[in-house]
Amino acid sequence: MPVDQNKTAEEPTKRFLIGKLHAQSLAAKLMADHYMTLHRASKTGSQKIAWCSSVGPSELLRGMGFLVYFPENHAAMLGAARQSEALMLSAGQEGYAPEICSYLRSDVGAFQNRTTALSRIDKDIVSPPHPDVLVYNTNQCRDIKDWFSWYGRRLNVPCIGIQSPRGIDEVTNEHIDSVAKQIENLIAPLEQISQTKLDIDKLRLATSLSKQCSLLWKRALETGHISPSPLSFHAALTLMGPVVTARGTQAAVDYLIALNEELDARISRGVPAIKNERWRIYWDGMPIWGRLTEMHRLFTGAGANITASTYCNSWIFESLDAEHPIPSMAKAYTELFIVRSDEVKERYLRTTAKEFKVDGIIFHEAKTCPNNSNSRYGMPERLRQRLKIPVMTIYGDHVDGSMVDIERIATQVEAFVEQLDEGVA
């Protein structure tokens, strides 16, 4: 590419600060590289591949030399491309009820129909990478085990995992010991599958890198404390891709360092994520993947920025400790928001809403994701009374578009901003 001799050294930085973050392009490239690596390994058999749940023991898998694929990311891609609805019908024909996880139904449906969202990255990718093992943790939900079990039966591949306690108040040593033991029990079958002994140094390295990823991602998200925020929910959803799929790798750490540098530059120059941040919102629950851009325009058009969310905060594993990888993994994966009781969740939301100086909270009640929908047991009402800010629930789904009435949601969001404008809690 020819170099523009008239550009000064200042201008490349200036370009990054306007509009989209440059880090979003870096994230897209990292994700593409991740999937191409998996694709090549799947084709050639050069490296063993493990499918893992998004908050599953990926550090252990990397420590055993596996490349790691996360089906949930694929399901989100299907949702973002609005392919899910048609694909879910096939899963329904096998008896998977319309009320259960739409990620599961659309991903399984894609496989049944021999299609994949990964073809958008490269047309040579015609299916997800073939797994040598499927590894789950039910810390997030039971559906992940049902999902992986389908593939285990279909592909005749070992499906192993961790059954975590859920709805936890205080995380006790008993909880940690139970999960740690189950993680240890995965080692023998994984060694057999990979034909490799667990390399403790690799495990420590992966754990250390995951920890670094967590802290860097947390730092990036905490820029949302600043008013106006340099980060929007819409941008964060793109930026978090590598945090999920590449955590435990140096590439993810390097990317997050670059992201933080760019956010720091935005802050020092006073560049906000949206032009007119009049109101700051907390979003609890899943994104509506098939309507991200519409939702972003809806909020920004009304001068509202989603400056914090439960979802983006979910990939912060502060308890990871390279010196004690397995017990620290057990703790880190068990103390997550999604695993906790409503009392703990409510306390977290109260604290976080204040830290991020939000003016209102929106709960997304995803029809087929009860574990990520926290509006079903009165929490919105309790938060409204306690925080004295508007709290609203909208109804939709993360990828099942038939559950999403965008007109109704648009009315609710606009009315929510009107309520904020009126100053009535």
Partner: protein, 262 residues
């Protein structure tokens, strides 16, 4: 001289227009079926409303649209949600803090309105038309009873036949079962109204005065009576309950004019 302010509520079933003067007094109104062409429905309804008070478009100082088709009203000077307009409209008739419960063609909304007319917390029904005007329309169709006769039939009933289903189609099945076993039609109709009230009760969580608005309140006032019985307290209805949001939109239109004059 432009002397009226127009509020247009483009609902999923009907488009309502209200014209008010500077003192918020009703000058004219009209309602037409919305159909598929929202802008056309808005123009037709506005012209009809102007006709009722011998005025023309040149008398309209400003127009605000609300409702499902609010963004299709290309000649509106402003757009607000029907929720904001509901709050403004109800405050014209109820000066105290209230919870307004609006039952429309396919929506149920509750909105807290404080004593100064400001819009507070609101709720909308989840993705289900149970308890809305669409529910009544469907049941009337399946029972081969003109919609406009339902209210009187319900009022004449001795006792309701229980109808439990949330789903309109399944509720229609219960209606057929009841009819087959010889239940009087009016008792079945009363049961339908009771099931509507059960749906909306779930959305009420306040001891504040309740006000009922919307098309269902306008054409099926029995719902107001039943709601009051279940809640054990008075339930108010504004004048022209189907036009409450349009009233509010007209107030917003007046505000636009006043802001422009400052």
């Amino acid at each position: 001289m432009r002397t009226v302010f127009a509020g247009i509520d483009v609902g999923s079933s009907a488009t309502k227009v209200v014209l008010i003067n500077a003192d918020n007094e009703l000058q004219g109104s009209a309602a037409v079926p919305t159909g598929l062409y929202f802008a056309e429905a808005a123009r037709t309804a506005l012209q009809s409303a102007l006709n009722t008070c011998d005025r023309t478009m040149t008398d309209v100082a400003a127009t605000v649209s609300c409702g499902y088709g609010r963004r299709n009203v290309d000649f509106a000077d402003g757009v607000r949600t029907e929720i904001a307009c509901l709050a403004k409209g109800i405050h014209l008739f109820f000066a105290e803090e209230v919870l307004v419960l609006d039952i429309g063609g396919r929506d149920i909304k509750t909105v807290h309105v404080d004593a100064s007319g400001k819009q507070g917390d609101f709720k909308m029904n989840a993705q289900c038309a149970a308890g809305t005007g669409a529910f009544l329309e469907d049941i009337a169709f399946r029972m081969h009873i003109p919609l406009e006769q339902l209210n009187a039939l319900g009022e004449s009933a001795a006792a309701p036949v229980p109808v439990g289903s949330h789903c309109t189609v399944f509720a229609a099945g219960e209606v057929l079962t009841a009819a087959r076993s010889g239940a009087p039609v009016e008792n079945i109709v009363l049961g339908i109204y009771h099931s509507m009230v059960k749906r909306v009760i779930e959305m009420i969580s306040t001891e504040k005065p309740i006000v009922l608005s919307g098309g269902v309140a306008a054409h099926h006032p029995i719902v107001c009576r039943l709601l009051a019985e279940v809640l054990g307290r008075k339930v108010g209805i504004p004048p022209f309950p189907q036009f409450t949001s349009a009233f509010g939109a007209a107030v917003f239109a007046k505000r636009i004019t006043m802001n422009n004059q400052e």
